[in-house]
Subunit: 96 residues, 5 copies
């Protein structure tokens, strides 16, 4: 999985997946210290992530391994909200 930061939402009324009750989030990629990278993806929210939260993203067919995304054309989901990242014994990220 990779790290990203939720920065917005993507609205699509004409879509093929017939998924309701959740939404597409705009996620900017970042490193494990929350430093933003030059890249964005659209990910389906599975965990109730909000703007500004650092998340981990599962991609490819792994994104379909949930009740909500089973057999849907979804290739990226937010798999978890990051609370804390520890590197070499030091906390390098902590959710505020």
């Amino acid at each position: 999985m990779i790290f990203g930061k939720v920065t917005g939402t993507v609205v699509s009324t004409q879509k093929s997946d017939s998924i309701t009750g959740t939404k597409y989030l705009l996620v900017q990629l970042c490193d494990h210290r929350e430093k933003l990278k030059n890249g964005y993806i659209v990910a389906l929210d599975l965990v109730g992530a909000g703007p500004g939260e650092m998340v981990i993203i599962a991609q490819g067919s792994s994104a379909r391994q949930t009740d909500m995304t089973y057999q849907k054309p979804i290739d990226a989901v937010i798999a978890g909200i990051v609370d804390l990242v520890e590197e070499d014994g030091v906390t390098v990220f902590s959710k505020s």
Copy 2:
């Protein structure tokens, strides 16, 4: 999923997928603000997207999770037409 803009069509009469009733679209990759990138892919249209529309593309095996593409050698589909992208509380793209 990633963003792209429909810029044309690709015709292939000698193909292996036996899919009818839809077509291959030429899609130029773009960012979430519709700024074009230097890359193209061929995607099967699932939603009736037209030239100039900004779309989201699902890739890999996720592209086969529909009735039309089930068990076909398709690795990219247009999963939705983008109506609106909001970033940090500001609308950065709106379908005209």
Copy 3:
């Protein structure tokens, strides 16, 4: 799917897939206007593509969604021969 141009063949007698009746083609990647890129892949031919033809390539597990490649360790197939590419209303490639 991505674009490529058939430039040769790859012979492997000691292989794991037990596929007969078709062959591995050497494919150089190209853009939608047939401009060659600096990259090659090996793809199984499903459509009878010949040297010099521009093709579309399906990768990943999508490459196994045919009778011939089902449950074989194949991650790239030639899914179609390109007849024509139209971009912004202009024909930018036409099979000669």
Copy 4:
């Protein structure tokens, strides 16, 4: 599979996979001689890897082919701890 070095842990209480009894590890990519690269991923630990150990990582749907990760949104696992790497007849890495 690719090489990485375990450098820390990632804590996520709000996640979608309901996996317990193991944890997400922070893994910095490296080459076969343990030289660190400029990239990190989050991988589920399947083998009891510890900080500082060089590991091999399986990605994509291959990451779900275990009892623990079956049908979970996991796209990277630590598949093994590297004991030794031999290149051109010379031992270039040995676990200390």
Copy 5:
């Protein structure tokens, strides 16, 4: 599939796949003319490839489509040993 050259072996006693009777090979990526590239992967050997041999590698879920790798966390296998590569009618690689 892509080209690589077998340059060594990788030993891992603590691994998750319970595969016996074969081994992980260290493979340096190369082009179709056997020119080495700056990248290595670890691939499971399915065909009895030896040091110095040029091989083709299948990646992703395609790597699991064999009796030996079925439902194992393996994302790269050596699918064949290359005997000959022909490009534009000229033999550009021949196994010595």
